[in-house]
Symmetry: C2
Subunit: 353 residues, 2 copies
């Protein structure tokens, strides 16, 4: 298999200089990547705090509540690690980009919470329940605008092009998802195009633009983008499965949000495909246009999703996406950051257990 | 008075070649400018329609309802005319910029309607009353993202810098305004800083960036930006006065929105300053934190605003802004487009009658 941009030696040195081996050899891929990228991530955190500052107190208060107090920083880590994987050395441009990506993601979360009327985010009351929906909408707009000022600071029109297009696709996907609510006829293909737009587009843009901060090889950047896109699909499929408690148990995350909102996600589409006439009537009642839901319905939905094999099928689809992510990655980069990114794809799937 | 960039001869020729004299010598400044700029404006309209297209039908439906069906195109006209005034010849970059400015404005309107819970926009039901608040939020996000893709197409980092900063300031101003609702202690200075942010910043950015598409003289661009900023302040002051029926009568626009929302605008601040203890109690009741309003209160508020001289004072403040706009303009440009832009400042004030 042909590999581009194998600058493994240089990367190894950079990693050894930056993170102590003991710190990085243990733990989950996210923790190891965070340790590898510690200095860059500190700069990103400083940018997130600095650029959410404003004399209008609601802005730092609300955005600090969401950003400073939570989040795995998956997208900034993806951005930074993609740059390192193709030979990058960190620095200001990629940190601006990583912070911009996190701001875009945060703006989306603030607006999503209003649109979905979700009361919980990252285990706490959603910002809209603390400051109100109006403040969440407007602070979301502020963070989105701040993301663009950060990208302008990179002075790189390729980055601006990639991220502005991705922002369009994300918003388009959100509108598409809204239009598809309670649509019992949603096809798997249409569901995947929503996932592609609302989640995978930002993962793809983060990885591709991250790579472009470090290398000028368009093929390498495309392959890193494909890695990000496939990772994003795997991530969202597992997220949708976790909303029904994952494969085996109910974990920390609040369960049943998608169910209550009538979102037709892959576990539901697969369960409907396998359903008897009796079960189909259940799905029509609880997820159809009327959305008539009673107290025991979520537990029954979880039972059907597991017993029909829909949970296993969803996980298998996520596994295939993770494998595709790893194949694309192998085209673009070798070395410890590439290894960690490959592990990250497995981690996204293994969250389901 | 020193004048920069006096390329009057060339502009005169361009104008004569593009608009028939009979068409442009009559009518209000907006109509004459629209006639002068007809070809550019057609290109802007084409861009607005083309870039609001999407396979997700809600996006063109909702944005078409707002954009295609209404609006004076004041901001695109300001952008295009600012470029022409300093020697520009139209063309793709300035049209992309003008369309981007209109998209940013449209996104703001969609979000404003949700935040203000306004039921009317441009004489029709607000988009949120037709498609719902969620669709208005998300289509607003889409238009904002599209604005950035249009700006990236200009390949001009100065434009991206100006507009992305302005977008931050606008959102900041909107949050500030939200925080100031029902705040009876709001000062005139704080009110003006809200106006500066939520309205004048986009006017300033449109005029400055427009000028930069046509000339590289930073002083000229700054002066055009100052023209736009002052024009925006005059425009908003008159808008706030029109919400109380203007100086003399109730015109087409729905009256009393700001009153019902408890927005402390300049006519109210001036009326409070001049109020007797009895009138002050009225203002405290209807615009204070409790916002206790009865049926005849709006009419009484209008009466107080006019009889106390607050309406005249507001108009006088707008006149001063318009004069400052014209002074800045005279520093930057001469010729027919400059003359029309000077007339536009008068027009913004004269709307109050």
């Amino acid at each position: 298999m042909k590999r581009f941009g194998a600058r493994t030696q240089g990367i190894n040195l950079a990693v050894q200089a930056e993170a102590k081996p003991a710190e990085v050899r243990t733990g989950a891929p996210m923790d190891r990547l965070a340790a590898f990228l510690r200095r860059d991530l500190e700069q990103v955190e400083a940018l997130l705090a600095e650029r959410a500052a404003s004399p209008v107190a609601t802005i730092p208060d609300l955005s600090g509540y969401l950003i400073a107090a939570g989040g795995k920083r998956l997208r900034p880590i993806l951005t930074l690690a993609s740059a390192r994987a193709v030979g990058g050395k960190g620095g200001e441009a990629v940190c601006c980009l990583a912070a911009a990506v996190e701001f875009i993601h945060s703006a989306t979360l603030l607006h999503d919470d209003v649109v979905d009327d979700s009361d919980l985010r990252r285990g706490k009351a959603a910002a809209k329940n603390v400051w109100g929906a109006s403040a969440s909408i407007l602070v979301g707009d502020f963070l989105f605008a701040r993301a663009f000022t950060l990208m302008v600071e990179t002075r790189d029109l390729r980055i601006l092009d990639i991220l502005s297009r991705a922002s369009c696709v994300i918003a388009e996907g959100e509108v598409h998802q809204l239009a598809a609510l309670n649509n019992a006829e949603l096809s798997v293909g249409e569901y995947m195009s929503i996932v592609e737009a609302k989640t995978a587009a930002l993962f793809e843009a983060a990885a591709k633009a991250g790579a472009l901060t470090a290398c000028n090889d368009e093929r390498v950047a495309e392959a890193m983008g494909e890695y990000g896109r496939r990772l994003g699909r795997a991530f969202q499929l597992v997220d949708d499965l976790l909303d029904y408690g994952g494969l085996t148990s109910v974990i920390g995350k609040a369960v049943g949000d998608d169910f209550r909102e009538g979102k037709q996600t892959l576990p539901v589409l697969y369960a409907r495909e396998a359903a008897t006439a009796h079960d189909r009537a259940f799905w029509d009642r609880v997820m159809g246009p009327q959305r008539e839901q009673h107290e025991a319905d979520l537990a029954h939905a979880i039972h059907l999703i597991r017993s029909s094999g829909a949970a296993d099928r969803t996980l298998e689809a996520a596994r295939l996406e993770a494998a595709a992510a790893q194949a694309a990655l192998a085209q673009a980069a070798r070395g410890p950051f590439s290894d960690e990114l490959a592990g990250l794809a497995d981690y996204c799937v293994n969250r389901a257990f």
